[in-house]
Amino acid sequence: MKFNLAGQFYDDIFRKISTVMALLIIGLVIGIFITLVIESWPSIKAFGLRFIWTTTWDPVSREFGALPFLVGTLLTSFLALIIATPFALAGAIFLGEIAPPRLANPISFIMELLAGIPSVIYGLWALFYLVPIVRWLEIKFGAPPFGLGMFTASLVLAIMILPYALSVARDVIKLVPQDIKEAAYGLGATRWETILHVIVPYARSGIFAGIVLALGRALGETMAVTMVIGNRSAMPHSIWDLGNTMASVIANEFTEATEDVHLAALVEIGLLLFVITVIVNLIARLIIIRLKVK
């Protein structure tokens, strides 16, 4: 009885500590949000909702509209996802289902290494290798041959997020129970048919979760993007254009901003980025729950 009580006591303490920790985290998120709102208040007051849909970003005339960066962020992130997803899926199927462990393990290891490389190094590499390739492509397509720009940024992002999407997808593919695979083989399915109709559908919610994780990274990725996107604060008209993302414009201008409104406008972009990331994650959670195999 006594022992039981003691057990309950520790249980209780543990529950309380966990609750406090959870509340702290929520508090932290709310705190960040409030700070961003306070710091961006001059800009919010000056431009109101117009901030979101106007395209002029002119520190000299103190006119600030964030639409070019919103577009820049969403465009590069989704383009990166579209480029990375097929590779992530194919790679995950290969590493999770097809390749024998003695091949899959070293490849997976190298992928984890890739995920750990600092983003500035991806940026440097992209300047030396991707920019010339993109320039060549631009000449082929008759676009101005900047080399830099939205498309280059999307490519770097795609490469950077690939290991994330891939490793999550690989892990869930590995978790598909052997018995349902055998059920498929037992019905005369080939390996490919089993992958297509049994393994991928079973793992779909996890595969999607990996893609969302990758999207989260792409939305916020700063350094590498800032280095290759061209840092032009005007509305982009094509994927070959120079541009800026929300993160890159903050990184680029924050240290140089002298005017209060300019600073506040940059913080407001940060606030928008924060909100977008939260919304994307919430939507993703809902979709993951709906996709889950019960």
Binding site: E182, G186, L187, G188, A189, H197, V198, K294
Partner: protein
């Protein structure tokens, strides 16, 4: 009933199955009669699962596994056929019910077609689904919930769904590896009754640990011991008058 007079569907010649260098099945020669229920019995680890998985070439899915000898399905050596073709003709029901969790009951029954990219006209699909579910004695229970997920069913119903799924592609043989061992007694009995009815449609080869069950449902029994086929004959004969001392010991419960 004597073995000699019946048409034979499966015949193995000097069949050996390996995991890496370990020989799990040793020089098996057996003739399995058509449209009968053949039970495979023997102590745990004697190779029943390995043997049955050779018959539809699932054995070779295990890394390092291989087969020597020959297995004739109606005079064709299945080891020389495409395993895909073999598995269409020889269906399998596993120990644990394994309906596809992403599919509805209806889709599960027709999975054998969908997986292979065979598109059936709607009415033909409906017909096959109903036929298979009736054969598996599940139709009455699920006819109004065909579009719910198969995994919502009870264990016994799931196992009958798996039987329906296997039957839907009209196999010549149905292999069953301890199909009732994960089920409650009532569901087990339902499946036993089902098996007896099914032998008009397909040949059944069933692994079972349950002696009374083998007695109730099987026409022939094969007794395996340490990878060897020790004795094979009509169930009644083998149970009442075993020729090999090892069979007798097993039947009297000396080892299990």
């Amino acid at each position: 009933m004597s073995l000699e007079r019946l048409p034979i569907i499966f015949r193995t010649e000097d069949l050996c199955a390996y995991y890496e260098d370990f020989m799990a099945i040793k020089h098996i020669n057996i003739k399995i009669p058509q449209k009968q229920v053949t039970a495979l019995m023997g102590p745990s680890g004697c190779g029943k699962t390995t043997f049955i998985r050779c018959l539809n070439r699932l054995h070779e899915l295990t890394p390092g596994a291989r087969i020597t000898g020959s297995i004739y399905l109606r005079d064709q050596n299945i080891l020389q056929l495409d395993p895909i073709v073999v598995r269409r003709r020889v269906g399998m029901v596993f120990q644990r019910p394994n309906p596809f969790p992403t599919m509805t009951i209806y889709e599960n029954v027709l999975a054998g077609y969908k997986l292979l990219g065979i598109r059936l006209p709607r009415n033909e699909a409906d017909e096959i689904a109903e036929w298979a579910l009736r054969k598996a004695a599940l139709w009455e229970e699920v006819k109004d919930i065909l579009h719910r997920r198969g995994t919502f069913l009870s264990g016994g119903q799931q196992q009958r769904l798996c039987i329906a799924r296997a039957l839907a592609v009209k196999p010549e043989v149905l292999l069953m590896d301890e199909p009732t061992s994960a089920l409650d007694p009532k569901s087990s009995l339902q499946i036993e009754n089902l098996i007896v009815e099914l032998k008009e449609t397909v040949t059944i080869v069933i692994v079972t640990h349950n002696m009374p069950q083998a007695g109730r449902i099987s026409d022939f029994t094969a007794f395996f011991y340490l990878g060897e086929l020790v004795e094979f004959g009509p169930t009644a004969e083998l149970f009442t008058n075993p020729k090999d001392p090892r069979t007798e010991e097993y039947l009297t419960g000396k080892f299990s």
